[in-house]
């Protein structure tokens, strides 16, 4: 079975300071991991994904995440927050276990990022 835990339900930062959103996962198989962002009244948008290639993954809008198998973590970071980054972020896992090779996604509970001027 696969599962995801996002360690913070809310994160608040000042504009221009670094962002860290924490995620731990559990998977019986080699997983694919994703970060999606959801702006108010908009659909989920993919930020980045890890699929067993490079462990440091770069995404859109300056975000990146590092896959650490030993820690079962996939934390999302950005060096400098922008006001437009304020949104809800979801860490997501997908693996090929149990016949779900088609890509059934399991979402974390979400982290709401607030950016102060």
């Amino acid at each position: 079975a696969q599962s995801v835990t996002q360690l913070d339900s809310h994160v608040s930062v000042s504009e221009g300071t670094p962002v860290l959103l924490r995620c731990n996962y559990s998977s019986s198989y080699s997983p694919s991991l994703f970060w999606y962002v959801q702006h108010p009244n908009k659909g989920l948008q993919l930020l980045l994904k890890y699929t067993s290639a490079a462990t440091l993954v770069k995404g859109i809008n300056g975000f990146e995440a590092e896959f650490k198998k030993s820690e079962t973590s996939f934390h999302l970071t950005k060096p400098s927050a922008h006001m437009s980054d304020a949104a809800e972020y979801f860490c997501v896992v997908s693996d090929g276990a149990g016949g779900t090779s088609y890509g059934k996604l399991t979402f974390g509970q979400g982290t709401i990022l607030t950016v102060h001027p």
């Binding site: 908009k42 993919l46 979801f90 090779s101 088609y102 890509g103 399991t106």
Partner: protein, 116 residues
Amino acid sequence: GAGVSQSPRYKVAKRGQDVALRCDPISGHVSLFWYQQALGQGPEFLTYFQNEAQLDKSGLPSDRFFAERPEGSVSTLKIQRTQQEDSAVYLCASSLGRTSYMDEQFFGPGTRLTVL
């Protein structure tokens, strides 16, 4: 447009009414997923289609929920005899492939269902 579209965007139903939610996936996408997102929660898997075949419906919460994709493109999620606990945002997603769990899923804007 080129993205996933859903209709209606908002639906208010009285308890006990039947509702139908529509999803238009990206043209040519083989895989189609439905997710349910309760207030303050992450989306949860409901069901999966590969073309017109419903291969996984393990996430449907009860037999009041029914989904179809008869021609392998447009999909409809139907909820019979709606209950207050059915209130949520229903998300549709599509992806190009059929067997890869590495594919990106493209999400629609969702239908917000409120049951009074």
